[in-house]
């Protein structure tokens, strides 16, 4: 049982809405108790999800179950709550932001932030069992959303935003099981006389290309994409987008959000939002050369023959196929649906939507794309009439012919 906002001892009216779905408020104790004979527990996720591919079948999806105020891991029909009241009724809500990565031996590693006390947590899933630990080396009270995860030199690596909003921290698990924490060095200003960066990491992603451990972060002060690489000699940071590399001129607000992946040759692939143009972009960095390409623009025809811009890309996800072609999924905030950009062999992107048979009349939110043997697109399907608690995860294997 757990205490819950609105559920109070002796409060006879506390039963309605005082506890998450699947719980009832017990007036005698003021605690929320699992309804043994209540409605079937739902695993409706709310907010960005992470999808981790498997050798076969649909990926594992990790996200926050708002109704349960808990972190849920969905693998086919199986649902595990790793943190929050649904995992343990004495726990506080947890998992509002999470990230996941699969190790070389198939174990699943998940990291998340618990907003209530700004702590960082890690779970290791192995053979159907889970081991959950707080990363105590990340000082409680300093951890903020978002969180990103990767796999580097046989160990999980986690990046998160520091509570002071001006820094990003990186934690690497050691062979001993302890975590070594370090802060990313502050980036150089984009140009002479520019203000120092004081808002960093509202978006971040982590990848491990051949160049070394790489973290992409959003510089909210200047609207830039920062790319920090630790190639073994310490961190070096460059501005990848948002500032002209030659003149230092501001070229727009870019990088919130962003996603990273690694191509088959170890090159870095980055998807990011260009907020100034309401566009989704893709960048590739290999051998010191960076190229940028438009994936999709939000331009649409509005009333009276005017052009408007859909609010696209405020949530996006990226995967790279074994042949190096990228798949970018993003949400369209003007329509509350998701779209997919598939890099065509002949160049450019095919812009597609999930099949109508899977979409129905509802809305689609928070896409997550995952690689592996096939490219899978996962999202949260929502129905206005049922509210967030009626949402469900939908997964679609992107057919090979869709790329042509």
């Amino acid at each position: 049982m757990a205490t819950w906002l609105g559920c109070a001892k002796g409060d006879v009216e506390c039963a309605d809405g005082a506890c998450p779905v699947g719980y009832r408020c017990v007036a005698a104790t003021g605690l929320c108790e699992v309804e043994s004979n209540g409605p079937a527990l739902q695993t409706s996720l709310f907010g960005a999800i992470a999808a981790v591919g498997k050798p076969t079948g649909p990926p594992v999806v990790v996200g926050f179950a708002k109704d349960r105020q808990s972190l849920a891991v969905i693998d086919g029909d199986a649902v595990n709550f790793l943190a929050g009241p649904a995992a343990n009724s004495s726990q506080q809500p947890a998992g509002q932001a999470s990230a996941a990565v699969r190790s070389e031996d198939g174990d699943l590693h998940i990291a998340w932030v618990r907003d209530a006390d700004h702590t960082l947590w890690h779970a290791l899933g192995h053979g159907g069992t889970w081991q959950v630990d707080q990363i105590s080396e990340a000082k409680a009270g300093t951890v903020a959303r978002p969180v990103a995860m990767g796999w580097w030199q046989g160990q999980p690596v986690i990046a998160w935003r520091a509570g002071d909003a001006a820094a990003v921290r990186v934690g690497r698990r050691q062979a001993s099981g302890n975590w070594a924490i370090q802060a990313l060095p502050p980036p150089p200003p984009p140009r002479k006389g520019a203000a120092p960066t004081n808002d960093m990491g509202r978006s971040l992603a982590l990848a491990t290309p051949s160049a070394g451990l790489t973290i992409a972060t959003y510089d909210g002060t200047h609207g830039d994409v920062l790319l920090s690489v630790d190639s073994g000699d310490g961190w070096s940071t460059a501005r990848l987008a948002g500032t002209d590399p030659t003149s230092g001129a501001d070229t727009g607000d870019m990088g919130h959000p962003l996603a990273l992946a690694v191509g088959p040759d170890g090159e870095l692939v980055l998807a990011y939002r260009n907020a100034s143009r309401s566009a989704v972009m893709l960048a590739r960095a290999a051998k010191g050369v960076v190229s940028h390409e438009l994936v999709a623009s939000g331009n649409v025809v509005g009333p009276a023959g005017t052009e408007q811009r859909d609010w696209i890309g405020s949530n996006l996800s990226l995967a790279v196929r074994s042949d190096g072609k990228a798949a970018v999924a993003w949400s369209n905030g003007s329509r509350w649906n998701i779209e997919l950009g598939l890099q065509k062999p002949a160049g450019g992107f095919a812009r597609i939507s999930p099949p109508a048979s899977m979409v129905g009349k509802g809305k689609q939110l928070w896409p997550a794309i995952s690689g592996g043997s096939a490219i899978w697109l996962s999202w949260v399907a929502a129905d206005a009439s049922r509210g967030p608690s009626g949402s469900r995860v939908v997964q679609w294997a992107v057919p090979a012919e869709a790329w042509k």
Binding site: G47, S278, N299, G302, A304, G305, T306, G333, V380, G387
Partner: protein
């Protein structure tokens, strides 16, 4: 789509009116003359009030120098073998009067205080003879006007040669020193001293008068050319401007009108259409043919002058800025512009469970060109604008990702009040806005959201437009007018707006 404040549309107003000629953007000649449909004749007027002329005279006096020093080395007096000693002193400019004369000529008269100039005359190797040169009733006279410059432009010019006139002047003491020289040589010595004094005073007085005239009626207001303006998220747009002083080919550029010395400019603007803007023709409004009598504000300045923006020009500028995409706006909401989450929840209760927190941004999409009129709002001059069809989008975080949560579509209107901020800057402050017949929809809930609480909806519209309008746009006077120009007040006459300005004189002028 622009991301600055809504009121920024008036920026090109001054750019057209004054500044762009001086901006650093490269300009090229117009490919073709702008059509009459894009021209507002006499849309802009520059004026100096008659009651401010005494202060203008005083300003010219200070620019000239209250004490004008002169000096001359010893010089031979004709072929007499005599020599005048070195002379030095200062002319005291006691007062300067200015008055408009026929054909827009400003006559400037500087009264010179009584001058006593001691000197000596003698032959080399002989004892010198001391004497004095006395001048009374001295008056430096300069006449300036706006004359024709390059086509459409004007330039401040001298009407005729400046003069230094004396009521009484000559050697008053020690005339016996002059006797050996003869009358002609004595007169030559007298003329030579007068010339030294004139050479000291008149260039300074003329320069001060021309500077004052150029400051009040800047020649660079006349612009003819085209340039491109950067549009965030879009390719550059071409802007074409042609503003010219009316009557600039003659001497009548400045004419008396109801106690004001007025110069008029015709202003034409055209701009490429930004894709987000409605394809509307410019409003066909005619500027008032004659300037209406206006109440000059109480108070005075160093060089007070007024810029009069006719309502027709204001409307044309609003059209041009809209066509350039200036009314398509996207603004983050935070701090003082934050919209309470509760408002959205009251307007669309079914949205409540989806929203993480208060709206983070607002967007304005105009589907028609704005109509703008100059009229009072709460007894103060204001710009009333209306867009007959526009959409306001409210963006808020949903599960950590921003999305459009509410769209309001209808007839949007508002009031911008020009006010004087710190440092004499004119800023346009949104003081009221509303949407008539608003249709509320949501991408999540569909096209027929029942908007709960019309009062809340009105608040939402007002604060959303307020958010778009903040921070208030500061008109770039300094880029359009002489550096140091400040606004002192804003008034209205009929359908036109007056910006009363001061300053803009050279910083090293001693003022």
């Amino acid at each position: 789509m622009s991301t600055g404040p809504l009121a920024a549309w008036l920026t090109p107003a001054l750019a057209v009116l004054v500044a762009l000629a001086g901006c650093t953007s490269p300009w090229s000649p117009l490919d073709a003359p702008l059509p009459p449909s894009h021209r507002v004749s006499s849309g802009l007027r520059l004026a100096v009030a008659g009651q401010d002329l005494p202060k203008v005279g005083e300003t010219i006096r200070v620019l000239t120098g209250k004490q004008v020093e002169f000096a001359a080395a010893p010089a031979p007096i004709g072929a007499t073998g005599h020599q005048r000693s070195a002379i030095a002193g200062a002319l005291e400019v006691a007062a300067v009067q200015v008055a408009w004369k026929a054909q827009g000529t400003l006559r400037v008269e500087a009264n010179i205080a009584k001058l006593q100039l001691p000197l000596s005359i003698g032959k080399s190797g002989a004892a010198s003879c001391a004497l004095k040169w006395l001048g009374q009733g001295g008056k430096g006279v300069v006449s300036v006007r706006l004359g024709p410059g390059s086509p459409g432009q004007v330039q401040a010019e001298l009407v005729d040669a400046p003069q230094l006139l004396w009521k009484e002047a000559g050697f008053s003491v020690g005339e016996e020193c002059l006797a050996p020289l003869g009358q002609a040589a004595g007169e030559e010595a007298d003329q030579e001293i007068r010339q030294v004094l004139a050479d000291a005073l008149l260039p300074r007085l003329a320069a001060a008068a021309l500077h004052a005239l150029r400051t009040a009626y800047p020649g660079q207001l006349a612009v003819a050319g085209q340039t491109s303006i950067g549009q965030p998220g879009s390719s550059n747009l071409s802007v074409r401007i042609d503003s010219a002083y009316a009557d600039s080919q003659g001497a009548g550029a400045i004419q008396d009108s109801a106690g004001l010395a007025v110069a008029q400019l015709d202003v034409a603007i055209d701009v490429d259409r930004h894709p987000c803007a409605a394809d509307a023709a410019p409003p066909q409004l005619l500027a008032q043919a004659k300037l209406q009598p206006t109440q000059v504000p109480v108070g005075e300045g160093l060089l007070r002058r007024g810029i009069n923006l006719d309502g027709a020009l204001v409307a044309h500028l609003a059209w041009a800025w809209a066509r350039a995409g200036g009314w398509c706006r996207q603004t983050p909401l935070n701090g003082s512009t934050q919209l309470p989450l509760q408002w959205l929840q009251e307007i669309a209760p079914d949205l409540a469970d989806w929203l993480d927190s208060a709206p983070s941004a607002v967007r304005l999409w105009p589907h028609a060109s704005p109509e703008v009129a100059v009229m009072d709002w709460q007894d103060a001059p204001a710009l009333h604008w209306t867009i007959t069809d526009a959409s306001l989008e409210i963006i808020a975080p949903v599960g950590g990702a921003e999305a459009v949560v509410l769209t309001l579509r209808g007839r949007l209107r508002g009031v911008l009040r020009p006010t004087i901020g710190s440092g004499g800057k004119v800023q346009l402050v949104n003081v009221q806005s509303a949407m008539d017949s608003a249709v509320v929809s949501s991408p999540m809930l569909g096209d027929a959201v029942a908007a709960g609480g019309s009062e809340r909806l009105a608040q939402l519209v007002h604060f959303a437009v307020k958010g778009i309008s903040e921070p208030a746009t500061v008109l770039p006077l300094e880029s359009a007018l002489p550096p140091g120009t400040v606004a002192t007040s804003v008034t209205r006459t009929g359908q036109s707006l007056w910006l009363w300005l001061d300053g803009g004189l050279q910083p090293n002028s001693g003022l």
